[in-house]
Subunit: 415 residues, 2 copies
Amino acid sequence: MFRRLPSIEEARRLLKKSYTPKPLGKEQVSLSEALNRILAEDIAASIEVPPFNRSTVDGYAVRAEDTFGADEDRPKKLKICGRVNVGETPTVKVERGMAAEIFTGAPLSSGADSVVMVENTTRRGDTVLIHEAVSRRENVMKAGSDIRRGETILRKGQKLSPREVGVLAALGIAKVKVHKRPRAAVLSTGAEVVEPGNPLPDGKIYDINAHALSAAVWECGGEPLNMGIVQDEPQRMEAALRNALHSADVVITSGGVSVGPTDIIPKVLNALGKPGVIVYGIAMKPGKPTTIAVVDRKPVFSLPGHPASALLAFHLFVRPVIIAMSGGREEAPNVVRATTATKIFSARGRRTFVTVNLKRDKSGRFVASPVPLGLSGAITTLAKADGFIEIHESRQFVDAGEEVTVWLFKQSPLE
Amino acid sequence: MFRRLPSIEEARRLLKKSYTPKPLGKEQVSLSEALNRILAEDIAASIEVPPFNRSTVDGYAVRAEDTFGADEDRPKKLKICGRVNVGETPTVKVERGMAAEIFTGAPLSSGADSVVMVENTTRRGDTVLIHEAVSRRENVMKAGSDIRRGETILRKGQKLSPREVGVLAALGIAKVKVHKRPRAAVLSTGAEVVEPGNPLPDGKIYDINAHALSAAVWECGGEPLNMGIVQDEPQRMEAALRNALHSADVVITSGGVSVGPTDIIPKVLNALGKPGVIVYGIAMKPGKPTTIAVVDRKPVFSLPGHPASALLAFHLFVRPVIIAMSGGREEAPNVVRATTATKIFSARGRRTFVTVNLKRDKSGRFVASPVPLGLSGAITTLAKADGFIEIHESRQFVDAGEEVTVWLFKQSPLE
């Protein structure tokens, strides 16, 4: 009953010994479905971008040396030998003393090496006066200057933002291989929980966790399978976990664990397959009852019933596994530095997480005030807080005015 | 030809005079579809959370005064009068000198005001020895302590994260009213652009913008309608823009504008409805040809053809409008402070945006090095850069070593 619980890092090491998350299979998606997916292949350019020397202005394609010395007073006169429209292959060749009319985005005519902007020219019938000299390659975007053929331009494991979608389009790629989203079965346990949308009998509460955790799964790139509420009873629990392990790549339960000898979930997990439960409680607050099992090479995370504890444990243990299974890279956390408004005590011998609100002081620096979660791990407190601070188990408190790192829930603490 | 172009702020004011974005209609979604949607109603609690006084531990429900003075040596002996299971309405009343067995999450029996943890008790048949006194309300979460009935707990305009989804579930709400996503028609123009996935004829390039801009629309909460490539020809352009205005709430074109008198798009827009084009070129670099029109009370943004210019102009002008139409609030931008590695010149008289890469110096501070976009607004340069800096039109350069704000493309510049 009073055994020493592993620290967060020890718990992660124990999990790693029995289970290493690997990217799942690949699937092909079109560009319109590619946003925020994780690339499952290196992308090497099969063409040059742009594919030809391209004029960047409207004007006249010329040989630069024919313009040398030109200025307002002594323009150079060139003979117009033709016209290159945008999207066409130029048929005209620019010989010495000649110029071809050209438009922004059109391919440079052969013979020409530069383009004079139309603003610096005067048209006179089939000749043009050049009022300003250009140097070689001026106003020309060289073939391959954006992307060289053969260049590996995107790499496996990159998350596709609008900019990477643009790179794929530039190469003419309409379909791309991305990693499959890991499927995460989410189930809530407890005799007291009722599905939202139904009447609430006496003694019951609405199920928060299946919904909040499913949303959290989406947010880190997984596909939640919300399996609803399972009664805390061995046969039903076994059937539900079997089904979850069959349908999903990772299983998340919440509630029904309290690091006590009567808990059903750990017993069922141990009976379902090897190695079974490998972490049974973690030295953290909140989140102490968090239990981790591996059954048939799939991880099962049994999170506490309190919503704030469940979301914190999700963040620390489940999210990194889902991201690794999705082939992605963990993003650097969104943190700010702040000073604490008050002395904040930790739970003795346990890593303590304290939700805080941020304000700016007169000099514009962040000040973090603790928002106690109370006994309950209240969901509203969590929704109102800006982020949390972490106090190491070796420390008894953080002093007032001490500088701390705040892990933000939101993009920005002060919208 | 040499008229003065409006600044970015003037362009925004001109748009505002003719068009104020308003949230579109509402729609009802289930909790599983609610993540990242914008709430279209205030949410007031119709129940208390928790709905009853709830035990937060396994143990015995007691009257606190019956435990006063109890310690290891002189425990208090109480008579067990019953048991309260989780999810049940307690039928037992705890009278003076009595205790009811209770479990975490179960409603407190009437008469009792606190719970003694099982660890601090010894069971003796139908009596229990209490080894530690409790105070009133100890180990009890009071009804309504998380959410009070009637409290407005979420507000219109909030974006729903997993935490807010949890709050909705806590209140038993299974369906919620959110704002409709603004539909943004996206079309590319130009004789030279070809849809990715097709062969690339000579003189052509693949269309980047329709794909990158559609992804950017998604990213800020809109629903892109990718209408593909439209030829730069008046009748076709008119038909395409009419169709786009009919199908969507906002229209985005790219290419085909160069602030020249021969441009087709502005002419067509002026012919389609009042007031037509209201901003025709903006004093910025890149992005100068950006043209803004309002036709039949819908905004039309005609962005430059160069992908980097198009994405920048989208960010500055289109994104805020889409966010406002979606009923949301603009998030604070993700910025870091950095010093510049080199002197960076601006374009005379135009707001200049320079893409940069970030590194950390020995002291851990960010140093920003410019990544020239070149003449082309190359998409790969954009994909490789960490963010951009903005140089005001009143300045000719930013000096080497000067402190600047870098607007990040990514969550974190150094993954």
